[in-house]
Symmetry: C2
Subunit: 671 residues, 2 copies
């Protein structure tokens, strides 16, 4: 994900991975709504959507008075109306493939994963960390050979791949060994000088240890196994997501998957950690795990001929103490948060970490944004990890607990409480409840320390009082500042094609000013729009000053318009100022910047103004960050404040440059 941002923003980058192989099976599989919205911003959500299994319904199974499991409830897997996407499942290998192909397609420098390459040392030159032009981080890389970079399998002769080498049941770190081996045979090494380094190297992160940072938290006694199989079973809900609590034999989760596969998460009551808190992994075999599943599912029968992958893990919750070393080296994903996998959060929250970080690093590296926006990464994302850990702590105990026999059974877990937690958890798990706090990237009232993880961020000079903020937020009640820009359908003014508005917010590193132009055919509203556009167009204001002098005016900040007049009464060239549909001497007017909230012929009515909570007559102005989060809301008359917003986070007075963050504005089709 981090590399995808670099590719989309035209920043040179390298990725190294100590393992020599791509993932072909197993690992994570759930993709939440927000991840799919992110994939769409990169251009490949459709591929995942097409290949994946779509999980539609969750069935709850609990023991009756006779101790026999029965379906007690059905709830939708994704909350209805939350997003244009719903939760799907697809194995991690395919998702990594989509990323690799997307990075290749978008990167000028052909960024690719260098496999079997391991960092040996990392140093930060503190005298240079505040110098924009410097490369303060030095990393020594060592190239492994085939044998060294092949991960060991738990059962050597088995044809079934397992994921135990990545499991938290094993705590051996093999980097020192591997490097020694490579050194002994004088394997190739290399010194890299970098402006920024991002450690996405998993729960036993080498980068985190090199920085001396910790993971805080605790393990539980709960141990679970995971199997991807093609089941042969009479259990009726095997193609539904199921949460099954057996009376005495533990719990099981069913995740139906693509290609007839089903993933089973199986509680292992027969395996427990020893006094040191560690489980004996030699006891954990596919046979043991599957035997536990059969007991839980009884009286239903389950067998399999084909197993794709298996692993096991010990439930625990940990969060990194720091995400950021001197604004130059960052940690993301499992390197700074670990928890149980059953809510499908690991891959999603991890990708969302670097979706938050990548554009900030890219814009800082290019000199487009101020380096101090990087402080918001820890504040925004460590807070999400804290919330996740808290959620998982509660949820995993409810899942691993024995179901209560009756209301007097206080040790047992009430199935009503569990269902309620599941319902609430679904909103959290969708990734759409994330609400970033005040900073120089998000203009809202309140205490930025409390809104974030407690670390300090610079607040915007455009920041406002609680009262003023309420007024501003009231201009677009459906677009809460700090949350992702929700999507409704609007029509292109020039060609009447319906678009989900989020489809116009692509991950290309650009900020966007969304002008809700209101009723453009009303003379007084038109005068307001004209005045706003005149300010936007002025050479001394942010739009021109943030843009390199030799680049098209929409290279750094793109202005998009949604108006509320009737489409067929309105004409693009006649009714909208030029700045809203810029002219290019090679290719004419830009027909993709102005949209209308009107009925479509084939796809219904998006009712965007109503859904965004914006006044149809007067409209408003909304700033959207490159990662689609709402950053600022104001009236058309609040231009000075808007100017201050961009002064607070972007580097104005851009000089000319070559090849900055290209738009399609001036490029002719290439044959």
């Amino acid at each position: 994900m981090a590399a995808a941002w670099m590719a989309h923003c035209g920043v040179n980058a390298r990725i190294v991975d100590k393992r020599n192989t791509k993932i072909f099976c197993g690992q994570a599989d759930g993709l939440q709504c927000r991840s799919l919205e992110i994939f769409d911003s990169l251009g490949f959500a459709d591929r995942a959507w097409k290949e994946a299994n779509h999980m539609i319904e969750i069935c709850m199974w609990n023991p009756g008075n006779d101790g026999i499991i029965r379906r007690s409830d059905r709830i939708p897997d994704t909350i209805v109306g939350l997003s244009r996407f719903q939760q799907i499942v697809l194995q991690q290998g395919r998702i990594e493939r989509f990323f690799l192909e997307n990075i290749k397609k978008h990167s000028k420098d052909a960024i690719k994963v260098e496999r079997g390459v391991l960092p040996e040392s990392l140093e930060i030159d503190l005298s240079k960390v505040d110098d924009d032009a410097a490369y303060p981080v030095t990393v020594k890389l060592r190239t492994l050979n085939e044998e060294e970079s092949t991960p060991p399998q738990a059962v050597n002769a088995s044809k079934i791949p397992d994921g135990l080498f990545r499991s938290n049941l094993i705590r051996d770190d093999d980097e020192a060994d591997l490097i020694k081996k490579a050194q002994d045979r004088a394997g190739a090494s290399e010194i890299v000088h970098a402006k920024y380094v991002i450690g996405c190297d998993g729960a036993r992160s080498w980068t985190r240890r090199a920085l001396g940072f910790e993971l805080d938290g605790e393990a539980t006694d709960f141990i679970w196994g995971v199997m991807d199989i093609i089941p042969i079973t009479d259990f009726p809900d095997i193609r539904m997501r199921c949460a099954i609590h057996s009376a005495e034999n533990g719990s099981l989760m069913v995740i139906p998957r693509e290609n007839k596969l089903v993933r089973l998460y199986i509680q292992l009551k027969e395996v427990a950690p020893d006094a040191s808190g560690r489980a004996d992994r030699s006891k954990i075999t596919p046979e043991l795990i599957f035997g536990a599943a059969q007991k839980i599912l009884s009286p239903y029968k389950i067998e399999y001929e084909y197993c794709d992958w298996w692993t096991a893990y010990q439930i625990g919750q940990r969060v990194g103490t720091e995400y950021d070393a001197h604004g130059r080296v960052f940690l993301a994903g499992d390197a700074v948060h670990t928890h149980s996998p059953k809510a499908g959060q690991g891959m999603n929250v991890s990708m969302q970490d670097t979706y938050n970080l990548g554009w900030k690093v890219a814009l800082a590296a290019k000199g487009i944004a101020k380096r101090n926006i990087l402080n918001t990464y820890q504040s925004e994302r460590r807070r999400v990890a804290q919330d996740l850990i808290e959620f998982d702590h509660r949820f995993s105990r409810l899942f691993s607990g024995r179901p209560a026999k009756d209301v007097l059974d206080e040790e047992g877990v009430s199935m009503e409480v569990f269902k309620d937690a599941f319902l609430k958890g679904n909103l959290f798990a969708s990734g759409l409840s994330v609400d970033y706090g005040a900073s120089n990237l998000v203009v809202k009232a309140g205490d930025s320390l409390k809104q974030g993880d407690g670390s300090k961020v610079l607040k915007s000079v455009a920041s406002i009082s609680e009262e003023d903020f309420k007024k501003r937020q009231a201009l677009a009640t459906g677009l809460p500042v700090g949350m992702r820009f929700n999507s409704f359908k609007v029509l292109n003014q020039a060609c009447a094609r319906p678009w989900h508005f989020q489809e116009r917010l692509k991950a290309d590193g650009r900020f966007r000013v969304v002008l809700f132009a209101g009723n453009i055919l009303d003379a007084s509203q038109k005068a307001r729009v004209d005045k706003f556009c005149a300010a936007l167009d002025a050479p001394e204001h942010f739009l021109r000053k943030a843009t390199p002098t030799d680049a098209p005016n929409d290279s750094v900040i793109e202005v998009l318009t949604i108006h509320s007049a009737k489409r067929t009464d309105t004409e693009l060239l006649r009714d909208f100022p030029d700045i809203l549909h810029p002219f290019d001497s090679h290719t004419g007017w830009d027909y993709n910047k102005v949209y209308v909230d009107d009925e479509s012929y084939h796809e219904g009515f998006g009712d965007a103004y109503k859904n965004y909570g914006v006044d149809k007559q007067r409209g408003c102005v909304v700033v959207v960050r490159p990662d689609q989060y709402v950053a600022w809301i104001g009236e058309l008359e609040d231009f000075d404040d808007l100017q201050k917003y961009f002064e607070g986070c972007l580097v104005l007075d851009q000089p000319a440059t070559n090849g900055v963050n290209g738009t399609n504005g001036t490029s002719l089709p290439v044959r």
Copy 2:
């Protein structure tokens, strides 16, 4: 398209093309609803949908009393509610790419286009044409070199590719020349023995001439130019599809395209055919064509810097006298129908020709179907061409005619009549009004000669009287026999996922029996379903007899079920006979065969029974051909007649075979 069928059905095939290059620009661009449904059956509609420009609205521009053009009407480009797809535009090169990749993905024998290869002779051994095992067609192929296989360009030094070498303004056939050149230098040649040959070799088809068949019809005096440009213009509807009649300067059609391109079809009033009926092509240049466009669009200004491609053509309508030589050599596409391109029918109808033919040839070649089904190709598709020619004759004269000044101007074209023709034309142009006549593939009443092109086809032994047919058709009023199976959303019974039902009718060469099971929870209805399923399952009946003994039971005919009971009250394994969700000892039950007409969580209610016009209590049975056309309708009690249908077109008593028409039934995921 023909090769795609061979790939999907596992039949060995070769494609040769005398030209050495793929198409990178120009040629056809419009994709109609039915073509997109077909692409979806092959698996790549989503790629076209994503890349294409979507045409939403047609704007009519006509001269007012002052002679100045004005927008007089807006109509939707695709009739609302007709299909789950709407018309889109994308250049032919991309579409050919999708086909090449799809063929590569699905063919065991890696079918690819052999470029620069030309047929030199074609012979049919009449003594062998009725022998199923024989290879009665002998073709001699000659391989060209680079120079020979490169098409000439009209303007040699021009950087802008033109399509004149394919235009009907040039009537030189260069095959004899090319073959002589290749013979003189002793270029490689090869003899191919084939069961079947399909000539898809364009308006000047070598195959058609080798068979001695003709194109019947006439040319007009209307000459039109075509340009793909990035326009720089103040014309307000340049991103709409426009039909523009100027007062005196001729007509113009605007087709907005992908990548900022716009295609202009421009009437050339300054160029006329000479006494021999041929236009002087040396006069036709991009400058002449664009000058005509500027005059028509005046008082609006239009210029361009970038032109992607251009060509010109003379309007005419011709249809082939015969489509089929001895049921062994077939002609398709422009080889048997030519007309004007503005209704976007050329590529679409041509692809639909081989979509009709390909599976018939494949199933006949494999011995699954009787060879006499091949007679239906000419009957079904030549009739479509006749209808197309008639449509185009009327439409192109209305388009090329001068607009009437007033009601007394009888020589002029009434703009009301033109608009009306456009509206009606949109249904025809969608490809969804095609209605195939009675034959051994389509069981309906009436005169098969009148329903087809006049050529003779075998009628089904299951054929019925007008009165009986009315009763049968009344069982599913939304599924007219002979027309394509319309698509509404249903839910998978096992996982609740919504599918457009057409998505389950993939182009894999299988016939389908769609069992509308009605209210399966009603005991008497359940008894009817059980009885039907018992007959279906019997070893002496068509399902088992049409299937090779060593192949899964759904290899030749797939049974799909849609029931109307409440999803959550119904259970797949409990409520439906095994034959409706077959068990496989390696992979368990099949969870993808039974669907329910019920509300979804996220995608509304398809209301399939209502839309298909089927009784919710009693249901009915519908046979769907491999190309998605409705073939037979009957009650659950009409099993004997259903049996007769399959006896009429399939080869029963199949022996064991290897690798026939695989289903996913027994295949494990391959890593």
